[in-house]
Amino acid sequence: MQHMEFKVKWGMVIDLDKCTGCGACSIACRAENNIPPMQDASNKLRTTDWMNIYELSNGKKFPDLEIAYLPRPCMQCGKPSCSTVCPVVATTKDEEGGIVSQVYPRCIGCRYCMAACPYHARYFNWFDPIWPEGMEKTLTPYVSARPRGVVEKCTFCHHRFNAAKEQARMSGADPLDLPEDAYIPACAEVCPTGAIVFGNLKNPEHRVAKLAASKYAFRLLARLGTDPQVYYYSKRDWVRQLGDNYLQKELKGGEHV
């Protein structure tokens, strides 16, 4: 599949030196996107965390041990490994700022996209969603609840993008040229340390575009060629190096290093 380029390219930069692994982004994501609480969450490989947080370590012993936390939303790849394989076009890379969309009523639940995604960013609904009584009052009305048997994933809170565009249209502004922070996903909004920066990667005025161009920025598994729209940022070499697989002789790591 050829590389997809659109006028607007929503992206994220996550500063791993600022992230404390508190999990607020993950919780905000669950609340914002109507992810149901699990009856039994003991099997962590069956949970639905659109924003999963990985713990990275430099592999050394105390006192040299260092830890970093890596929140992992959907990478919204420029060349997605998931959408080309979907037999029913239930997932596509579209004009909406390059966000990889997921059409729940069309998904047949074959899970081929899950096998394709190297980031494990896709989640299957193993069980019927069950909402505790009273929780319906807290559900986000703009996000559909997913039935059992379909695959779901982070959409950069796409409904917020729609709302921002509507707002822009109403005020006579250009919906394709939203100002910084007119649209930000729940995770970026809630992050207490400001580790998550969100914006249009194609707008040089946006902070996200500047950070992504930094020599400390890198993307996960960049050499696979998925071209993610999520960037990570760290001044620590070992963290950048963990962004991709490297052989002994090419131990440098990090896209710009």
Binding site: M1, L45, R46, V85, V88, C107, C110, W126, F127, T226
Partner: protein, 411 residues
């Protein structure tokens, strides 16, 4: 009218009580599997041991394995009707039934496997032309239809049904057009066998299975076709031998079996040559290009050690290939059957590692290995499909004239 009059002309079968007892035994698995299917369809595939890492597991392995082993149908049909190898007429009916069972069984499992079975038809309604799975969906259902068309005349040949003039003529006409269906079947089957391999080969996010392209297809497309035609004839021949063991009657001449073994052997040599080249190119080219080493692809502690690779390539690949192309080996039944079994096991291992090990391997450097073991829901439904195969095969053997040599061989 006694039940005996439904048997093919001039053959012997066990008494009805014994046959019903056998069907009763098979039914145990059918009932257990039906309960598993009821749970899966009623409460979703959360009852299985699959998870977000192992979206594919026993079911998909089973599907791919039986589809490969069922390739005897299309390939024997191709050799019999298009290449005109006349000797194969003695086993072609069996090959068709085995193929039908493998494909219909695979489709039944797929209905359970997808999260939204009621949307299964979306594959036709909203096809994604870029997806190998779309091609598989189209080809597999079309080919299953072809197999049904090939199976129907066999049913119409039942002694009692054939007394009806219309059925008799219909069966005859089906036979006249069989080369046409064999041709269509060969075309469809080649493509979906290949696309099943292509399904894995295009996963560029999974270095274990990703392969470079040849035209629009990754290498795995061709490897899967080759491995299927290398194991399908061997499997059909083993099915005939197994039926002979169970029924105590000679069904297919040893000459025909040797021919099937020879065909499988030649194709296995062809396949192994390219499979070994592929493994080498993958280990030396693709993996380092992705910053990975051969060793990182295997993990004994997680149950995915290199043993699988060596068993697949050497013990179940090179060894049976040599055995099957050696006439002295083929002349000894025990060795011929052993080689055929190894051949089939090797292909099943290949489908297993492509399905399960590919997902177990961590791709992100900070991720870890995970293991998967199927649970009762997956086993029961898979065994149900095998039992369904036994059921249809038992009925076919008892009531349909599928072995043209049977009377002469048991005189």
């Amino acid at each position: 009218m006694s039940e005996r009059e439904f048997w093919p002309e001039g053959v012997e079968r066990c008494d009805l009580g014994k046959f019903l007892a056998w069907l009763g035994f098979i039914s145990i698995f059918l009932v257990w599997g039906a309960y598993g299917a009821y749970k899966v369809l009623g409460t979703g595939i959360g009852v299985t041991a699959l998870d977000n890492y192992f979206g594919f597991g026993l079911w998909i392995t089973f599907d791919l394995a039986v589809i490969a082993l069922g390739a005897g149908a299309f390939f024997s049909g191709f050799l019999r009707y298009i290449m005109r190898i006349d000797e194969l007429k003695n086993i072609i009916n069996l090959a068709v039934i085995v193929g039908f069972l493998c494909y219909s069984g695979a489709m039944l499992i797929l209905v359970l496997d997808i999260g939204q079975p009621l949307r299964a038809w979306f594959g036709y309604w909203h096809p994604n032309v870029h997806s190998m799975l779309t091609e598989v969906i189209f080809c597999i259902t079309c080919y299953c239809t072809v197999l049904i068309i090939e199976y129907v005349p066999l049913i119409l040949e039942n002694r009692q049904i054939a007394k009806n003039r219309f059925c008799h003529h219909l069966a005859h006409n089906f036979h006249v057009y069989m080369p046409l269906f064999a041709g269509i079947g060969t075309f469809l089957s080649t493509f979906h066998q290949g696309s099943l391999g292509g399904m894995y080969g295009v996963l560029f996010g999974r270095p274990f299975v990703f392969r470079e392209g040849f035209f629009i297809w990754p290498w795995t497309f061709f490897l899967f076709v080759a491995s299927a035609i290398a194991s399908g004839p061997a499997f059909t021949m083993l099915c005939a031998t197994f039926m002979e063991t169970i029924t105590g009657r000679k069904l297919v001449s040893y000459e025909t079996k040797k021919l099937m073994g020879k065909i499988a052997g030649l194709l296995l040599c062809f396949y192994m040559f390219f499979k070994i080249l592929d493994t080498y190119a993958w280990a030396k080219g693709i993996l380092p290009g992705m910053g990975l080493t051969f060793d990182q692809m295997y993990n004994s502690a997680a149950g995915y050690g290199k043993t699988w690779l060596w068993v697949e390539l050497f013990w179940c690949g090179v060894i049976p290939a040599i055995m099957l192309v050696t006439p002295a080996v083929r002349n000894r039944p025990a060795l011929l059957y052993t080689a055929a079994i190894l051949d089939c096991v090797g292909i099943v291992i290949n489908r297993f590692v492509f399905t399960v090990q590919a997902l177990a391997i961590p791709v992100m450097p900070f991720d870890q290995w995970f293991s998967y073991a199927p649970n009762w829901a997956e086993w029961s439904t898979s065994l149900m499909i095998i039992a369904y195969g036994f059921l249809v095969m038992s009925l076919s053997y008892r009531y349909l004239p599928i072995f043209p040599q049977e009377r002469a061989l048991n005189r």
